[in-house]
């Protein structure tokens, strides 16, 4: 649990973060979204004290973050940034080993952890451990950056535009990986982005910031159905609100008993994609199968449409 209490950051006369309070539940992904200059990165960096707040405080599991030296605090909090900041003079393995070594782990434990993380991030240790960052592709560098941030098993992971430099296909894969990793390690993740689609895709909670103020911090559905501020609606866009809403629910969540003709959809498919599939096929229902391929029910066009209405 991260508690941000009435936090402010002022540089001379400009207020970058203005009286923000937030509660972040453990083991969730919170996305802070806003335009550039909204103060979202500054807010993130006040959590690990790369930026010291002018006033207010941050508590992690009830403990004030100012109670210990900043660099010791940061070893317990994962941090991944756009452009990654991999150390160019160190191998992939040494990059990932950075925080464990700072924490004084013995060599065998460090090596085991590095290999474990390389496997998790689908980088063969034999092939990649000894490589230097410049020998990797952008997507691989990104994975090493996240692996490094997670190396010491932090409870909290902060990410500042981590996927900003990736092309759309690798980006989408990186987002899926993050969701997997978060579920696997149960890490509390806070991501900063300017991309609303990314926010909706990743976030259990989405926080919208503008001009240093927190406008709304809520479930993604609530941002669409009950925007707290005109700026929030503007950021979400008015044209495809219903489709955005559908993209937040998966087929598995509203599947009903029964079956339908035609190819099946998997339970993790979003309603938006199921709708597109049904329109394309001219069908009114589809069978839903679980990840193991076993049918768990079917989904009707009408119930999808009902889900995309504001009233639902």
């Amino acid at each position: 649990m991260i508690t941000i209490e009435r936090i402010c950051k002022r540089y001379d006369l400009t207020t970058v973060v203005d009286d923000v309070s937030m509660l972040i539940e453990p083991r969730t992904i919170t996305v802070i979204v806003g335009t550039s200059g909204s103060g979202k990165s500054t807010l993130l960096r006040m959590i690990n004290r790369l930026v010291e707040p002018t006033s207010g405080r941050v508590l992690i599991d009830g403990k004030d973050t100012r109670k210990e030296p900043a660099h010791l605090l940061r070893r317990r909090i994962g941090y991944a940034i756009q452009g990654l900041g991999l150390f160019p003079h160190r191998t992939v393995a040494d990059n990932i080993a950075t925080v464990p070594r700072l924490l004084g782990w013995d060599d065998a434990r460090v090596r085991a952890r590095v290999n474990e993380l390389l496997e998790v991030f689908q980088l063969d240790p034999a092939a990649y451990a000894a490589k230097f960052p410049h020998e990797l592709s952008g997507g691989q560098q990104q994975r090493v950056g996240v692996a490094r941030a997670l190396a010491a098993g932090p409870n909290v992971l902060l990410m500042d535009e981590p996927f900003g430099a990736l092309d759309p296909i690798i980006r989408s894969k990186a987002q899926d990986d993050l969701l997997d990793i978060q579920r696997r390690f149960g890490t509390t993740v806070i991501v900063v982005t300017h991309d609303m689609d990314e926010a909706f895709r990743l976030g259990d909670r989405v926080a919208v910031m503008s001009q240093g103020r927190l406008l709304q911090h809520d479930r993604p559905e609530a941002l669409i159905t009950k925007p707290a501020d005109p700026f929030v609606s503007q950021l979400i866009g008015s044209g495809d609100k219903s489709l955005k809403l559908l993209s937040l629910t998966t087929a598995g969540e509203i599947a009903e008993p029964g079956s339908a003709d035609g190819p099946a959809v998997t339970s993790s498919t979003s309603l938006r994609d199921v709708l597109a599939e049904l329109v394309w096929r001219g069908a009114s229902a589809a069978t839903v199968v679980g990840p193991d391929g076993v049918a768990i029910g079917h989904i009707k066009l009408a119930s999808i449409l009902a889900h995309g209405r504001q009233a639902s």
């Binding site: 660099h71 070893r75 990654l84 900041g85 150390f87 160019p88 003079h89 950075t98 700072l102």
Partner: protein, 246 residues
Amino acid sequence: MKPISLGVRLLVLGLLVAFLVAPQMFAPLFAPLNDYGAPAIYDQGNLLSLAISHLLTVIAAAAASTVIAVALGIFVTRPAGAQFLPLSRTLVNVGQTFPPVAVLAVAVPLVGFGQAPTLIALFAYGLLPIFENTIAGLEGAPRTVLEAADGMGMSPAQRLREVELPLAMPLILEGVRLSLVINVGTATIGSTVAAKGFGEVIIAGLLSNNNAFVLQGGLVTGLMAIALYDGMRLLEQRYVPATRAA
């Protein structure tokens, strides 16, 4: 600049060693430069011992310059020392612009004749390239890399030791190389105040109007400079693979 090829490297080293150990071998080459039957090869001292003194003087001065210039470069790139950057730059620049001959003239009354005034002159002369390269190297580290180091929880000292200095190392070594090579040539003037070195050969030649001596002194000094340059390049290359990416 292309690295020196292996053939050239062996040739330079071979020539240098041959000349220092058995200079009389080269007598026929230098004889035509002298008219009056004067000796063709420097015979007033052992060339090898002059070479060792010359080299030791240069290395000692460069080592002292390196320690001071790198320490100063680190200091003025820390938040606490940033305000001393302009002052330090001025001082180091004075060391470079003040002619070494003038430094000798000032130093001899203070420390006497011999190696000491030469060391002082070379030390002051060699500071600038190392100092400027240290600053350039430390300031050239990518911002995201430094932010990552902070974000990982490195203390300022750990960040300096584990990230900033290794990344700046190629540039620092380049500064040391420049300083060394400049000093090999500059050290010859030390012989005007009785420092042992190749300057003795040149000065002996000038005093006795012996062109062969002057040329020999210049040549061995030049060969030593090339050999040192090459040796430092080899050392620098060890760091190249690690820093190709930016």
